[in-house]
Amino acid sequence: MWIYEKKLQHPVRVEKCDIAMARYLNAQYGGPDSELAASLRYLNQRYSMPTKKAKGLLTDIGTEELAHLEIIATLIYKLTKGVSPEQLRAAGLGGHYAHHDNALFYTDANGVPWTAAYIQATGDPVADLTEDMAAEQKARATYEHLINLTDDPGVKDALRFLREREVVHFQRFGEALNDVQDHLSYKRFY
């Protein structure tokens, strides 16, 4: 189960409305390497993990990614708060407005809806943890692109925080992968 806490993991302040940046941030809301994809991938893969460390880590990182999803949502919400249909249209979000008005939606930066085809669960712990490590690197690279797309200090601060977390997650998944490999070779030899 999960218990909701009425606060963000990291503070979010934005200087001013920036519809284009909100649109780019959708990359990490509903894109292939998004926080949504990360959370759903990890929380689903944990059921077929053989070791305590891997089960624990996928549960805990999968949970932290939900907190990151909330940070991204808050950024998008604040950057587009109160904007008119004309402004959305001018920023290339007329299509988004047609489908969703000012609501948030799980799409990538180009408006393509999120799909479970972005993620995998092979049932093979080595394959799955290796996918997770790649996912963390792809998210880190995406955050670097997003940081280059804004000069709002508040947005940059939140994105730098999220980027740093991907680096830590990559490190921890690597440790869990080593542990799984030790476990599998132990099983082979005894």
Binding site: I3, Y4, E5, K6, K7, L8, Q9, H10, P11, V12, R13, K53, G56, L57, D60, I61, E64, E70, A73, T74, Y77, K78, G154, V168, H169, R172, E175, A176, D179
Partner: protein, 85 residues
């Protein structure tokens, strides 16, 4: 949100973040005594701070300190996306 509340919330976020990071570290280093000690100390500091924050500014979790008061106080305070970080 006034500056006092913001400061307290920041402190809370900082402590909880250290716990989250230690949590992941301990998942793969379960025998690290230094990390275990830090985890115990910070989780106690955080527990105290949460009680103080909830007493002053409202609930963080639905069953937090002072929950169940009338009117239903869980929905009274603003949501995370509504406050000025």
């Amino acid at each position: 949100m006034d500056s006092q509340q913001r400061e307290m919330l920041r402190r809370l976020q900082a402590l909880e973040f250290v716990l989250t990071d230690l949590n992941l570290y301990l998942d793969t280093h379960p025998d690290c005594q230094a990390a275990l000690q830090d985890f115990a100390r910070i989780s106690e500091d955080l527990r105290q701070l949460k009680i103080a924050y909830e007493q002053r500014y409202g609930l963080l979790t639905v069953a937090g300190f002072g929950s169940g008061r009338s009117p239903w106080n869980w929905v009274e305070t603003p949501w995370p996306w509504e406050i000025d970080g």
